[in-house]
């Protein structure tokens, strides 16, 4: 993460300083990529979406309201691109071959990689608005207040929706044998 005076970087990028824009990319590429990765569950797609996001950020930087947070603005573009990508993909995609069968092997045999894989699969079964909240809180480690700012929701609504999303995720994990002793 590059820690610099972000308003100054934006001003320089607006004057055409691509180096300054590169620093903006460097600062935010982790969040953008992880959001896309966990929402799409595909590293190649996440990379493509991230690239398109930053091209759009460059193209539209002049419309960014400098009173707001650059992070929030980039995040919303990233979320929009990710959701649009998934909608387009779903139109054409056959059933995802990665969705596992009920046969999950010996009960209770969960190592860290397997648990992580199960969570990724179960996440993909959530509706996007639930998945987005779980990713923001548990992967991107954003606080309820930060999520509220990004999603334009009251903090208590964020907590309530996140609670519901986690319950739905837990139900899907249990169908895969998670927690079975």
């Amino acid at each position: 993460m590059i820690e610099r005076d972000e308003p100054a970087l934006v001003a320089r990028a607006l004057e055409g300083d691509t180096g300054a824009f590169g620093d903006i990319v460097e600062s935010h590429q982790g969040v953008v990529y992880n959001l896309a990765l966990r929402m799409l569950n595909d590293p190649e797609d996440a990379r493509d979406v991230s690239q398109v996001v930053f091209l759009k950020v460059w193209q539209h930087l002049g419309t960014f309201d400098k009173r707001g947070r650059l992070f929030s603005w980039i995040y919303r573009i990233a979320l929009n691109e990710t959701l649009n990508f998934r909608r387009r993909r779903r139109r054409h995609e056959e059933l995802d071959e990665s969705i596992p069968s009920d046969d999950i092997g010996p009960a209770g045999a969960f190592d860290a990689d397997r648990t992580s894989a199960l969570v990724r699969e179960a996440l993909m079964e959530l509706k996007p608005s639930d998945r987005e909240l779980v990713v923001m809180h548990h992967v991107l480690r954003l606080s309820h207040r930060e999520i509220g700012e990004l999603a334009r929701l009251p903090e208590n609504t964020v907590k309530s929706r996140l609670f519901t999303a986690r319950q739905r995720l837990e139900a899907r994990l249990r169908r895969r044998g998670f927690g079975r002793s």
Binding site: T18, F21, G22, V25, E26, Q29, G30, Y33, L37, R38, D42, P43, E44, D45, R47, D48, S50, Q51, V52, L55, K56, V57, W58, Q59, H60, L61, G62, T63, W73, R76, I77, L79, N80, L83, N84, R88, R91, H92, A112, T115, S116, L118, V119, S129, H137, H138, V139, H144, A151, R152, L153, L162, F163, R166, Q167, L169, E170, L173, F178, G179
Partner: protein, 248 residues
């Protein structure tokens, strides 16, 4: 069965959002409730599982790819705001209108989705084939896909040359929503329009095919992203598009 308010309190305890008073109250309840402690153990496992999702590093070269696209292709600025995600309350209010609009604009895609063209032979000359353009090359599975984007007086075209082996699914997204009614021209070989919508088109081509597709609004303000699939293999990125004749 744990009451819902207790369940909420446990979640708040585990995600750190409980106030000190709430925490104290929940812990007092847990001390006297074996069922509560059992549920807490289950939720501990759930939160640990959620924490097992690593935060990945951005892929190597992402920044360089973005900067290359900006510098090398002269991606210019737009005065139009970037499309940001809508807040949900507004979406809810406008949902009926959105349904009606989608029903109208999605028609071209449904036409293909309900009855996609079969793989068909294309033949003939490609308009503007002699024009200069920007060529990119992608390897996916056993196939190599060369894409030359060129312009004539009226439009931009992507000329595909699929070599090697296998069948490749080609998805183009973007181009300012100008891909609704794909205009595929020969060439040679076997090509299928799998689906098309306002902002995307999916084609399937057998190795040996050479054909062109009009991408009318493609340009610096309307980038085109290409995704290629062949079996389990994937490739893709942003399609290089030459600048418009106005030099914008």
């Amino acid at each position: 069965m744990i009451p819902r308010d207790r369940e909420r309190a446990l979640h708040a305890l585990l995600d750190g959002s409980a106030t000190p008073a709430e925490r104290e109250q929940t812990e007092a309840w847990l001390a006297g409730s074996p069922e509560g402690r059992q549920r807490r153990a289950e939720l501990d496992a759930l939160f640990a599982a959620l924490g097992s999702l690593p935060r990945e590093s951005a892929p190597e070269g992402l920044r360089d790819d973005v900067m290359e696209a900006i510098r090398g292709r002269g991606v210019s600025r737009s005065a139009r705001p970037a499309q940001a995600a809508w807040s949900r309350p507004r979406w809810a209010l406008l949902a009926p209108l959105a349904v009606a609009v989608v029903a109208v604009i999605a028609f071209p895609w449904w036409r293909h989705a309900l009855g996609p063209d079969a793989l068909r032979e294309v033949s003939g000359s490609i308009s503007g084939a002699a024009a200069d353009g920007v060529t990119s090359r992608w390897h996916v599975g056993d196939a190599t896909v060369s894409v030359r984007v060129f312009r004539d007086d009226a439009s931009a075209f992507a000329e595909f040359d699929v070599s090697g082996g296998g069948t490749v699914e080609i998805e183009l997204v973007g181009a300012g929503g100008s891909l609704a009614d794909p205009d595929v021209r020969g060439g040679r070989g076997r090509v299928q329009v799998v689906g098309a919508g306002r902002g995307s088109v999916v084609l399937r081509a057998v190795a040996g095919a050479r054909f062109a597709l009009a991408i009318p609004a493609a340009g610096e303000d309307h980038p085109v992203r290409i995704s290629l699939r062949s079996g389990a293999h994937r490739a893709g990125g942003v399609l290089p598009v030459p600048p418009g004749r106005g030099g914008s």
